[in-house]
């Protein structure tokens, strides 16, 4: 009779299932009559449910073929099992050496922000599931026509004018404005993160460096944004910044669209600052109060100070955008982030309503980027450039610096 007390004890503990647990158990058993599919060992209720949901999501998609492989991710073309004509890109994040015990920060950031943001000019994240070995798979919108950088670089094959630039900038501006309205900083805006959908729509992608607006006194890292598109406050090591950093990047993209070469292509951070001084003006206390308090600020001699460039200087270089367009460009490239226009102010500018009217998206020039290009673009890690044009520009996010 030594066994019986134990049995009764077990029985009583079984009865003590909370009401909530009972309810959830009931829901589970009602909805999943196929008990045979469950893994053999009995697991805790929640875990099992998560596994089932994951399995269901995974079963919805079929991987077709590999589009590209990088150090960070492998990209596949896939489709919905229910609809063979639908197309998706499946980005499988590799388990890498740095984050052996968990997921890489890039992947977490990407999932965290993409699943919140739903806008026609932001790449859509359809689903997330994990495959064997705990690999993370992101099911992304399929964007077959390459990126904006391809169009900018192909100056022989592709001709475009102010109306086209206006259409592209409008779509980029809308995407960034929507991010900022939802308190998300993108922190890696550049032409090869701007994908082109089959209908010509520009879509902002690669949220690997994104984060939400910071709390007061909580420092952020300044090692973000690919160097050519990085604003002066980050180059001076500012730890507290705002959406103005993305607006600067948009300004440089705007300039690049007009010039068809990168506007400020610095080789090092110092060189980048020099280029900014030459093209925009030297940051001083007069035009940017408090700039000398920033960690990385370097003083300039009186003789070497370049005064802030006036409208005539810009008109000489960006005359094709017209005086109103130049006015907008200048407001986006203001040195002091507080004087720089916000994404909302940028969209409220009168350039959008003045002539010429932005080209309709179906009439925008396009170039068959094809599957390989999308594979190449997605496998990149945030802040990385792979085409040799600026190999040294790559900058990894330094998480140690924020501590």
């Amino acid at each position: 009779m030594a066994v019986s007390p134990v049995v009764t004890h077990e029985a009583t503990s079984n009865v003590k299932v909370t009401a909530a647990k009972a309810k959830s158990l009931a829901v589970r058993t009602n909805s999943f009559p196929h008990k045979t599919e469950a893994p053999p060992e009995k697991k805790q209720g929640g875990q099992e449910l998560a596994e089932r949901l994951n399995h269901e999501t995974k079963e919805k998609y079929v991987k077709d073929k590999k589009l590209g492989e990088g150090t960070y991710a492998i990209v596949y073309l896939g489709h919905l099992k229910a609809d063979p004509l639908s197309k998706v890109a499946i980005k499988k994040i590799k388990v890498n050496t740095e984050y052996r015990d968990g997921l890489s920060m890039d992947a977490i950031r990407e999932v965290k922000y993409l699943q919140e943001l739903s806008h026609p000019n932001i790449i859509a994240l359809h689903a997330v599931f994990s495959s064997k070995n705990q690999n993370l798979n992101l099911v992304l919108e399929f964007l077959p026509l390459g990126d904006l950088e391809m169009l900018i670089k192909d100056s022989e094959g592709i001709r475009y004018g102010t109306a086209e630039v206006k259409a592209w900038m409008g779509m980029l501006g809308r995407a960034v404005w929507f991010c900022h309205e939802n308190f998300v900083l993108h922190r890696d805006i550049k032409p090869n993160n701007l994908f082109i959908a089959a209908d010509g729509e520009v879509k902002l992608a690669d949220f690997g460096l994104a984060r939400s607006f910071s709390d007061p006194y909580r420092p952020m890292t300044y090692q973000v944004i690919t160097r050519w598109y990085r604003p002066p406050e980050l180059l001076y090591g500012a730890r507290f910044y705002s959406g103005a950093v993305d607006v600067w990047s948009m300004g440089t993209v705007f300039a690049e669209l007009i010039l068809r070469v990168p506007f400020l292509a610095g080789n090092t951070d110092i060189h980048q600052l020099e280029l900014i001084c030459q093209a925009v003006g030297t940051p001083t206390e007069e035009i940017w109060p408090g700039v000398s308090k920033l960690e990385g600020y370097v003083g300039y001699e009186k003789a070497s100070i370049v005064p802030v460039r006036g409208k005539d200087f810009y008109l000489a270089r960006f005359g094709t955008a017209g005086p109103v367009g130049v006015d907008l460009l200048m407001s986006m490239l203001a040195l002091d982030p507080r004087k720089r226009s916000t994404a909302r102010q940028m969209l409220e500018h009168r350039w959008w309503t003045s002539d010429p009217r932005p080209t309709a998206k179906v009439d925008l020039p396009r170039k068959g980027g094809g599957l390989e290009k999308m594979g190449d673009d997605l496998k990149r890690r945030g802040g990385e450039v792979e085409d040799g044009r600026g190999n040294k520009v790559a900058r990894k996010l330094n998480f140690g610096a924020t501590k």
Partner: protein, 331 residues
């Protein structure tokens, strides 16, 4: 002896029997067990040896005459393929006598509902086949004329060459000049004549071609053109793309006083980088109100109604059930 069949029952009988039995008007089929009423008029010679195939072709022809939609009428290839599949199911049912009554009713109702479209497509395909035939006939006729012209030309040339030679011989016979010189001159004349004729023929041919082109122009058809949609009136360009982000649960104030925020509003290190406390306030207000007005049960019910009965619905119900009521046990 000639055998005939009637598409009513496909029983084979000889011509003389058909004459004998059905001359007086409709009569039942003489084959034992088949009591269908047949009419003489509908008897015909069979095209295929296998009567099954004969019947299948008849059924398909009848169905195709009703379901004559074209791919260009569909918005996507998928829709068109679904339509084809449906038509094939219908045909199959008729062929193998599955639910014949229902299927016939379907066919009749479709024919009635889409009479205008069916007539339209029928006219279109008739026009297409007519124009193709006309074009082919015109091409054939042209080829015949060309061959004829070439034959006549060749004959003429031969005749002329003959004549030229005879002339030269005549000249040599009746003149005292150097025979070699006469031959040379005579050849030159022949050459000149033939060149002139060839040029004239070329000109004629070009004219011919042009006139034929004009004649066949209205017959030329391009398949696969989409119907032209009227361009819509251009809307005023909206830089925001129609999106409005406006908080519905709170009114954002220009400034919020809190001792904790004071330093962030004045510290030059924080301000110089562009950090804005106002943005922080807006974000916290948004986050505080983010869950208001969200009712998971309602959302799930709406989604379930919209979604098809597929896997997605099932998973949504699970997620909804867990999120709505008993969150404590999950994960």
């Amino acid at each position: 002896m000639r055998f005939l069949v009637n598409p009513e029952c496909y029983h084979k009988m000889c011509e003389s029997c058909v004459d004998r039995i059905f001359s007086q008007g409709p009569a039942p089929c003489p084959v034992a067990g088949c009591a269908r009423t047949l009419r003489k008029q509908r008897f015909r010679k069979q095209t295929f040896e296998d009567l099954q195939i004969e019947r299948e072709v008849d059924v398909r022809r009848r169905v195709a005459a009703t379901f004559n939609r074209r791919e260009s009428e569909f918005q996507t290839l998928r829709d068109y393929n679904n339509y084809l599949e449906e038509v094939e199911t219908l045909t199959f049912n008729l062929l193998y006598n599955i639910d014949v009554a229902i299927t016939e009713a379907k066919l009749a109702s479709y024919a009635k509902q889409n009479a205008a479209d069916i007539a339209n497509n029928k006219a279109l395909s008739a026009q297409e086949s007519a124009s193709t035939e006309a074009r082919m006939a015109a091409q054939k006729e042209q080829a015949r004329l060309r061959r004829e012209a070439a034959r006549i030309e060749e004959e003429e040339e031969r005749r002329e060459r003959e004549e030229g030679r005879r002339e030269i011989i005549e000249k040599i016979a009746h003149s005292t000049d150097d025979p070699d010189k006469i031959v040379r001159e005579g050849q030159k004349v022949v050459l000149k004549k033939s060149t002139a004729r060839r040029n004239a023929a070329d000109r004629l041919r070009a004219q011919d071609a042009a006139s034929v082109d004009n004649a066949s122009a209205p017959l030329f058809q391009i398949a696969g053109l989409r119907p032209i949609t009227q361009p819509q009136l251009e809307q005023v360009y909206d830089p925001f793309g129609g999106y409005v982000v406006k908080p519905s649960y709170f009114e954002l104030q220009p400034s919020y006083a809190h001792p904790w925020l004071e330093k962030a509003k004045t510290d030059p290190q924080i301000l110089a980088g562009g950090y804005d406390v106002g943005e922080y306030c807006a974000r916290t207000m948004m986050e505080a109100c983010a869950g208001l007005g969200v009712f998971v049960e309602e959302e799930v019910a709406r989604r379930e109604r919209a979604a098809d009965a597929d896997l997605g619905t099932q998973s949504a119900a699970i997620a909804g059930g867990e999120g709505g009521g008993s969150g404590s046990d999950v994960l």
